[in-house]
């Protein structure tokens, strides 16, 4: 009892001393404040947040810190972590961005931002929710510049020496082919679309079954005779929509974008000849096909 009283007294004493000291400091501050106003600017600064700093330099630092482990120091998709991954990370230099929502097949600002912020969990790309808007925009600039470098090299190999093909023109083409795309506008599905599956089934067999197979298992007839642009047979695989996860994302809007804008740089085409409602019918049908639907 005695000891606790002593402690109580000690605490009181210490806090008294601190309060006294604090009061002194406050008094000095107040004195300073009295002097200050004459020197301080008349108008208080209006901007409370620092301006957004978006730069390619910042993008590079963020890339090294956050992305290089998987995507590699030069963006070739060959980072140290690939030994632990099932899927190969994107090679920014030599491949196109796959998960686009644009009209022309170029990744929009939103496409890269969504991939960075929310990740592509089905393809093992993690989410980076802690990055600020300016960080994401800076990363967009940097990653896109790596992509442009790769396109520039390819175009130069193909076009150098041809008439009218100056280095400046080739550089201009590379910039044009990698600039951010404009997103295709979309409307919400009309109410009640989820009750009718027959339309979705009919649309699927007319528009998807030739590659993805009638049952959606990725065993369509068309891909058995697939050839590249020079007529050489190639092996192409369509996603098994029943047994595999959707790498572009399994949310309805993500499937919608995949159908509407296709997967750039692959055989999966953009479907622009169907109405928004028809695409939503397909989205619903494809979601029902997947064995992972209960997890969604």
């Amino acid at each position: 009892m005695k000891s606790s009283l002593r402690i109580f007294a000690a605490v009181c004493l210490i806090s008294l001393i601190f309060t006294a000291l604090w009061a002194d400091v406050r008094a000095e501050d107040a004195k300073k404040a009295e002097i200050q106003p004459a020197e301080a600017p008349k108008e208080a600064p209006k901007v409370l947040m620092p301006p957004l700093e978006v730069s390619i330099e910042k993008g590079m630092c963020l890339y090294i810190a956050n992305c290089a482990a998987c995507h590699g120091p030069c963006g070739l998709g060959d980072g140290m972590a690939i030994i632990a991954l099932k899927n190969r990370p994107r090679n920014f230099r030599d491949e196109q961005f796959h998960w686009v929502s644009s009209d022309d097949g170029n990744a929009s600002l939103g496409d890269l931002a969504r991939t960075i912020r929310f990740g592509r969990r089905e393809a093992e790309m993690p989410a980076f929710p802690y990055l600020l808007d300016e960080d994401v925009r800076s990363l967009d600039l940097y990653v896109r510049s790596v992509n442009r470098d790769g396109v520039l090299v390819k175009l130069t190999q193909k076009l150098a020496g041809k008439p009218k093909m100056t280095p400046e023109r080739i550089a201009g083409l590379a910039t044009k082919q990698t600039k951010p795309g404009t997103e295709v506008p979309w409307s919400r599905p009309s109410t009640g679309y989820q009750t009718d599956t027959s339309k979705g089934r009919a649309l699927f067999s007319a528009n998807c079954a030739s590659c993805h197979g009638v049952d959606g298992r990725g065993n369509g007839e068309a891909l058995k005779n697939a050839k590249d642009s020079d007529g050489n047979p190639i092996i192409v695989k369509a996603r098994d929509l029943v047994g595999e996860t959707f790498h572009g994302g399994s949310q309805p809007i993500e499937i919608f974008r995949r159908i509407r804008s296709g997967i750039s740089g692959t055989i999966m085409p953009a479907q622009k000849s169907l109405s928004d409602d028809e695409v939503w019918q397909l989205v619903q049908y494809v979601q029902r096909l997947s064995k992972y639907r209960s997890a969604q």
Binding site: M60, D104, S145, K176, A206, K227, G231, I267, S273
Partner: protein, 243 residues
Amino acid sequence: MFKLQDQSARIGLALLGLAFCAHASAYDEGTVANGGSISGFVYFDGAPPARTPLTTDATCPHAVLSEDVVVTKPAAKDAGKEMNRLANAVVTISDIKKGKAFETTAPTLDQKGCVFIPRVVVVPAGGKLILLNSDSILHNIHTTSDLNKETNMAIAPAGKASAKFEEPEIVKVRCDIHAWMRAWIYVAESPYSVATGGDGAFKMDKVPAGTYTVTVWQEKLGEKKAQVTVKADKDEAIEFIFK
């Protein structure tokens, strides 16, 4: 740090390049008074290569013949011009900078009976190309080219879509679902580019008087060039012979 400076220098160069291209490839549209015209035929000398049937899909209605070189025999009335006529060749004035306006109706590329129709379609650079599918099965349009970005679009049965090509060049088109299907999109810099029909004939009107280089291109046989001087209100006849 050097890398970064290099990067911004490249972006600067690219912008400069864009400005330069816009200037260099500009074609001025206007009205042409007292324009002449260039007309003629594209011939194929000798026995034409046989048109072989291509592998057909069970869903496609009939056997499709290859269309690399399509010729027609001349009609009986064309005595003295016994050479075969070459279809699907594009004749263009390659060095014209100013002249008539582009057509306002957009050209069409159809897919019918598992064949692209026409085999060669001419579309103005930056202009709209209407893509159709007249079949009851799915087709896609997959382009390969250098200057324009690859386009890959599915066209639903009886569906319709459109595409644009900004850079003048010859774009190769295929349908991945039916591997034999081929077409060419000739993205033209000026309205003075025309494809020959089945009779191998072509005509370009409203050509301002002057001397031009006229080029003909055919997918398999390559290119030929000729110098042509056009006089006001006169037609200049030329012919191209491929072997």
